[in-house]
């Protein structure tokens, strides 16, 4: 290289560095703004819950007493075939033996119109915050000229964006998930709080070992799986609460007022259970793929596709734990609460793999700078 060319190059890189600096600052501003809007959304969700608390709700109790009085299980009748000229046949659906037939709760607003309004405001704010945060992630990616997944700060901001994205997608698909909002936004705020305070890393380059298109495949699916597993874990926890609540009611107990007000508004335990199963089962093949993609990448980068590196080991443990959960659901006697505990353990493994392994255990994966 001639000296002149070298100075030109230096000037060009300085210019690029300056734009990158600006983009990085823009990204930080956007992330902080997103946090502010999420906070507003958080208060709106709280308000929704507060308004809902004033309305009278007691559907679970009513259904449980009613079904105790009637000799047989409740039967739901669906009208088939949409608009019928003459009356079409109806499909009778019956619950499995022993299953409680409890209607789903009305949601956080508890049927209160004012509460519902706040709930809608909360969702709108969530959408706004999501877009701002997404902008922050994209600006970060542009500033470092690569996928924004090189360190834990970037991983955290992407993770919460994707988790909210999953929630909003479920809402857009008209799934009954608005009750997730408060729990989700609380953790998103925590996640971002940790990201900007403890984990913040100025933009930097990836070490060459991280340069590979498998990075895009492996890390993006890992983040998506984590977000979906998280949604599954929240509904599993709520299932456990709601299930004990229903058990208490069914055995004639009287739950506390707070528990009643809070849990009555959630879907029935059977719905929560089914929802968490579907979410976990749907993402399990993708998680399997994530691990395989990681193995392929490790094969390229480190010369072996599996080497029991701590991160690999914990991905494997997480995978086996979720496989246990799926097996448990398929085996009689392990349904319900026992399977739910397995699902929570499995999610715990995922969390440990992310935070625990990066922070407490050193391995080949932890060199990207915490």
């Amino acid at each position: 290289m001639t000296l002149a060319a070298a100075t030109d190059l230096a000037a060009a890189t300085n210019l690029a560095a300056a734009t990158n600096e600006n983009l990085a600052n823009l990204s930080n501003t956007l992330i902080y703004s997103a946090m502010a809007v999420y906070t507003l959304a958080f208060f709106a969700y709280i308000t929704e819950w507060i308004f809902g608390g004033r309305s009278k709700i007691g559907r679970t109790a009513a259904a449980l007493t009613a079904s105790k009085e009637a000799a047989g299980p409740a039967v739901t009748v669906n009208k088939a075939g949409g608009t019928a000229v003459m009356e079409r046949p109806k499909v009778v659906v019956r619950a499995a033996a022993g299953a409680r037939d409890v209607p789903d709760g009305p949601g956080a607003h508890g049927g209160d119109a004012q509460g519902d309004l706040y709930g809608r405001i909360a969702v709108s704010l969530t959408v706004l915050a999501f877009l701002i945060e997404l902008g922050g992630v994209v600006a970060r990616a542009a500033s470092v000229e690569r996928a924004p997944w090189g360190n834990m700060y970037e991983f955290n901001i992407t993770f919460s964006t994707v988790a909210v994205g999953v929630y909003l997608t479920l809402l857009a698909l008209r799934k009954n998930v608005r009750w997730l909002g408060l729990f989700l936004i609380t953790t998103v705020l925590l996640d971002l709080g940790i990201a900007v305070t403890v984990l913040y890393t100025a933009s930097d380059q990836l070490v060459p070992a991280l340069h590979s298109y498998w990075l895009y495949i492996h890390v993006s699916t890992a983040i998506l799986c984590g977000a979906v597993f998280y949604v599954g874990a929240v509904s599993t926890i709520l299932y456990l609460f709601k299930d004990s609540y229903e058990n208490k009611l069914a055995s004639g107990g009287e739950p506390g007022r707070f528990a009643t007000s809070f849990l009555e508004r959630l879907p029935a335990s059977a719905s929560l259970d089914k929802f968490s199963y579907r979410v976990n089962a749907a993402v399990f093949p993708l998680w399997t793929f994530t691990i395989i993609a990681g193995a392929i990448w490790a094969g390229d980068a480190w010369g072996r596709y599996w080497g029991w590196d701590p991160k690999e080991t914990w991905a494997f443990i997480t995978w086996v734990a979720y496989a246990c959960y799926l097996h448990a659901r398929a085996t009689a006697g392990w349904k319900g609460r026992k399977a739910a505990y397995l699902a929570l353990i499995a999610f715990g493994c995922w969390l440990f793999n992310y935070y625990g392994v990066n922070i407490f255990v050193s391995g080949k994966h932890s060199y990207a700078g915490v």
Partner: protein
């Protein structure tokens, strides 16, 4: 869309036999039996043990054990990944180290107990799959079971009365179900149909793929090899065990398994972030190679990057590290060149501050003509910035400075004890002194020469080459492992996303001469999809066999209506 009615009174005579046949074998999952102890001697025990091992409950337990067993290996240092850490741990906690040694906790993944878990799981898996496969083949050969007598007891049910003839309705139903790709046939007064066999195919494929994957992994462990070789620009390597700096292999690997090839490192290039807060972070590492396959292969050129190994046969050549190798020439007192070589130095930090040793073993005679050995301790900064003598300021060669400390005497290399090439054993060496009587040491720039005192000769730093470290690995069976893994994903998706379900349509003349159509559906689990699909089918069939109004046209009519003896949905929920 839906309304809720409370349940009807119980049917006093639940007839379970009928449903048993219809609901049977909707999955191939083994029946759970409660463990009851055998009393039949050795064979009885063996059978009992086998049945336990292949039960779902034990499979679940083994899976749990496998994940628990994998945990210690991620928290305790492992000899397989980091020997030095294991040694440090042993030094720090000798007593605990002994206990760990006994338990195999320094090599969890090849320990007896860990192997026991996965071998048991493996056997359980095979013991589970083989009977399930036969059972499934049997189901495919057979036909969907006929309609239960009391269809009202199924999870989804509908009925209506029509003016069409029963045969017409059944034919229409058969055609409709076949068009919907059900396996359907007519038995007695009803059509029996089933769909979603791919679920079972997927599930079996998944478990078989797991076996393939595990076998391929074990195979790879037994026949693998892994070796390292450091090469300076311009030097070459040919793939034989003696050429490796270090070499590890699986238990069944033999030397003949080495792929014959050789290569030369033409050039190594590293580029680094030139400025900003992360100045010095590496951006690219690449090595230009000249390689040939076999003894008389043609020369080819290629570049190897960090994530892009060179693949030759079953072997892969990875670029794993790099550093600098100053070119050194040593002359004796008469000016004869006794040593001329590029000396690889060991990087100490991310800015490639390096250290190493230059050992002149033979050919040197001192000023008196006596045979002696020379040693130089080398310390190298690729980017020297005045004021900082101890660390390089940037990883690239911007202002290289080589610091040399000179010694003479006996290097101790002939004693037969292996010695680090990067360190001098100074026990039999004497320092060269400068004019002030101090240890002779000098900073050299490329082209500069350090004179040894009293006509002992000189040492010249000619220039700098780079070296690269290559890891050469061979892991047979990885293609099989990948194939198994990909099959596993597709099988899993099939097994989790496809519903297996049955539909029956019965049409018979009622007592009043009007045809009564009954339809029922059964899935492996309670799922909204089964009633939805049934409603859909019923709607279409209804158009072909329209209803006739009747007083008791209600499905919830107490006389035909559901009783509490419901068929429990089998298997996992979807």
């Amino acid at each position: 869309m839906s309304k809720t009615t409370t349940g009807a009174p119980a049917d006093p005579t639940p007839d379970e036999q009928d449903l048993g046949a219809a609901g049977s074998q909707l999955s191939t999952a083994p029946k759970e039996e409660l463990p009851s102890l055998p009393s039949l001697g050795v064979i009885g025990w063996a059978r009992w043990f086998w049945r336990q091992l292949t039960s779902m409950r034990v499979a679940l337990l083994l899976l749990l054990l496998l994940s628990l067993g994998a945990i210690p290996g991620s928290l305790i240092p492992q000899t397989g990944t980091d020997e030095t850490k294991v040694a440090d741990f042993r030094d720090a906690h000798p007593a605990l180290g002994d206990v760990y040694d006994k338990l195999g906790l320094f090599h969890v993944y090849s320990s007896v107990w860990f192997s026991a878990i996965y071998i048991l799981l493996f056997v359980s898996l095979i013991g589970c799959i083989v009977p399930r496969t036969w059972q499934f083949v049997g189901q495919l050969r057979g036909r969907p079971p006929g309609a239960p007598r009391r269809m009202t007891r199924l999870p989804a049910y509908t009925t209506w009365r029509t003016g069409a003839e029963p045969e017409q309705v059944r034919e229409a139903a058969l055609a409709l179900l076949k068009k919907r790709r059900f396996r359907a046939h007519l038995t007695g007064d009803a059509v029996a149909a089933e769909k979603g066999y791919l679920r079972e195919v997927g599930n079996l494929a998944f478990h078989i793929a797991l076996i393939v994957l595990l076998t391929a992994f074990a195979w790879g462990q037994l026949f693998k090899m892994e070796g390292n070789k450091l090469i300076v620009e311009g030097d070459g390597f040919s793939n034989t065990i003696t050429q490796y700096d270090d070499f590890k292999s699986g238990n069944l690997f033999s030397q003949d398994d080495l792929d014959p090839f050789s290569f030369t490192l033409d050039d190594f290039t590293g580029t680094y972030e030139p400025s900003g807060p992360n100045k010095g972070t590496p951006r690219t590492y690449q090595a230009a190679l000249d390689y040939s396959i076999g003894a008389y292969g043609k020369d080819k050129k290629t570049t190897v990057k960090v994530n892009e190994p060179l693949e030759i046969g079953d072997s892969k050549v990875y670029l794993t590290a790099h550093g600098y190798a100053p070119v050194i020439t040593v002359r004796d007192g008469k000016g004869n060149v006794v040593y001329s070589q590029a000396v690889p130095l060991l990087p100490l930090d991310s800015n490639v501050t390096s250290s190493g040793a230059i050992k002149v073993m033979d050919g040197y005679r001192n000023a008196k003509g006596v045979k002696e050995q020379l040693g130089f301790q080398a310390f190298f900064l690729p980017s020297y910035v005045p004021g900082n003598e101890v660390a390089s300021q940037f990883p690239a060669l911007t202002n290289p400075v080589l610091n040399l400390e000179a010694y003479h005497g006996d290097l101790g290399v002939d004693a037969g004890i292996p010695q680090s090439v990067y360190q001098l054993d100074k026990s039999h060496l004497k320092e060269f002194k400068n004019s002030k009587g101090e240890q002779l040491r000098e900073n050299l720039k490329p082209g500069e020469t350090m004179k040894l005192p009293n006509g002992a000769g000189s040492v010249t730093y000619e220039g700098t080459k780079e070296w690269a470290n290559f890891q050469i690995t061979r892991q047979p069976g990885s293609g099989w492992a990948l194939g198994g893994a990909v099959t596993a994903i597709f099988g899993l998706a099939g097994s989790l996303f496809i519903q297996r379900r049955r539909v029956w349509v019965r049409a018979v003349k009622g007592d009043d001469g009007v045809t009564v159509v009954e339809m029922a559906g059964l899935g492996r689990s309670e799922s909204a999809k089964v009633p939805e699909e049934l409603g859909d089918l019923a709607g279409i069939l209804y158009d072909q066999a329209p209803g006739v109004p009747d007083a008791d046209d209600a499905p919830a009519d107490p006389s035909v209506s559901p009783d509490p003896q419901v068929v429990p949905a089998e298997g996992a929920e979807q």
